[in-house]
Symmetry: C2
Subunit: 231 residues, 2 copies
DNA sequence: GGACTAAAACCACACTGTGGATTTAGCCAT
DNA sequence: ATGGCTAAATCCACAGTGTGGTTTTAGTCC
């Protein structure tokens, strides 16, 4: 008796109507691998195993691993729900930024790296892009300013989320014992400003930081648009 | 005659004074691998080969590959030259940001990923941190504000540089043919603001974008510090 | 001089991405 | 109908990866 594995190990093209593989099916399987076992275990072979399929079969639908990662990033980002515009530049920019954050951080934090680590602008669905630009335009900005503003905002968001994800992975900064240890380390060095700010440097509330930067940027946008329109 | 490879393949501890390996030597070798053949070829084995040494010997000085990457990132960042303060918040913040950018982008662009991809704040030498905080404090900001401001600035810088590096790797956006292709693609879609901004979306001058965002942030900082001091 | 340790090498494992060749099933033109 | 063509699956194989465990040597301290 030969060892017939239970996976349908037939050689040629599958009968019509029930071909298991497709780009979408692969992306979905990859997502479930990430959700169950983490990003670091994701590989062509683990995805293939989950589908009960030969690893090389994936290459019929996905160019290579990098393309698969791009696909996943796009998938995550495509789930962003673009908020309805309320009218004010400040409110709408803020709402869009939080919506982006929610989409990127949904699921395992390590999956967010995929989104943030490759050029977001390129794989962003056009809907959120239009929403962001429209917000600027409605407030009276020029197209050129809108693009610059959008890119500034996106850079801030990317950087902030990346920090959030990375620090969450390396050390548990929520642990108060470690926090006080860091604080003491910062106080025992010969740098006056670092000493004075040690309390605030030792901990980091990511949501609060996000809000701070966002508020600063949104205010600056409003202010700039006013002066731009005035001339 | 046995096959004695020319690399000093002696088994035990090396004679005193000439032990080839050390944490610094390893980091240096890793840097030269990156400079010569790119980040993607960097591995424990390639570094070891460059030193004419067994791969496992590296583990006597470096915990694992991730620690080695951290070391390289720290090394790159430690070469940042902190500018002398000139006095105004705007000038000094800007100068520090550009200095950071210069340090991160020195050498192969792919090496910058290492710096940006792990928690910068944690591996930053304390000197630039002190400089940035001092700039805020001199302008009259509270320590708390200084930390928030610094984190906002750092998030923006990180995001901007990451975009710069990633887009440089994926597509050559300096190619004018590709640029017009992108522009036409953006114009042929049914989204008014995207259409109107297609010209600006199709290309991206990274230095200019960096300057725009930086100016916006620096202005906002100055403005905020004034209002904060006033109450 | 003997115990101990630091720093090197060697052996080995499980795993990765993917190039190339083979096999089958459906499709299409004659 | 039949014969070629192609799409989609499989198997085989390779070079390369990080690193756990063991062995060997050279220096160091009592």
């Amino acid at each position: 008796m030969t060892d017939a594995v239970q996976t349908s190990t037939r050689r040629g093209r599958p009968p019509a109507g029930q071909s298991l593989l497709s780009r979408d099916a692969i992306l979905e399987a990859a997502m479930s691998v990430i959700d169950d076992d983490g990003v670091e275990t994701l590989s062509m072979r683990t995805v293939a195993r989950r589908l009960g399929v030969d690893p090389k079969s994936l290459y019929n639908h996905v160019a290579n691993k990098d393309a698969l990662l791009d696909g996943i990033a796009g998938l995550i980002l495509s789930r962003m729900v673009v908020p309805e515009p309320l009218g004010s530049l400040w409110e709408d920019i803020t709402a869009i930024a939080w919506a982006f954050r929610d989409a990127a951080l949904a699921g395992q934090p390590r999956a967010a790296r995929l989104v943030l680590t490759r050029p977001v602008e390129s794989l962003m669905t056009l809907a959120p892009l239009e929403a962001a630009l429209a917000t600027f335009i409605r407030a009276g900005a020029s197209s050129e300013f809108a693009v610059h503003g959008l890119r500034t905002l996106l850079a801030f968001i990317t950087g902030a989320l990346l920090r959030e994800v990375e620090t969450a992975l390396t050390f548990a900064q929520s642990d108060p014992a470690e926090a006080t240890a860091r604080q003491q380390a910062l106080e025992s060095v010969e740098l006056p400003c670092v000493n004075a700010a040690a309390t605030y440097l030792a901990t980091c509330d990511h949501e609060q930081e996000f809000e701070f930067g966002l508020r600063l940027l949104a205010d600056a946008f409003e202010h700039r648009v006013c002066t731009e329109r005035r001339r």
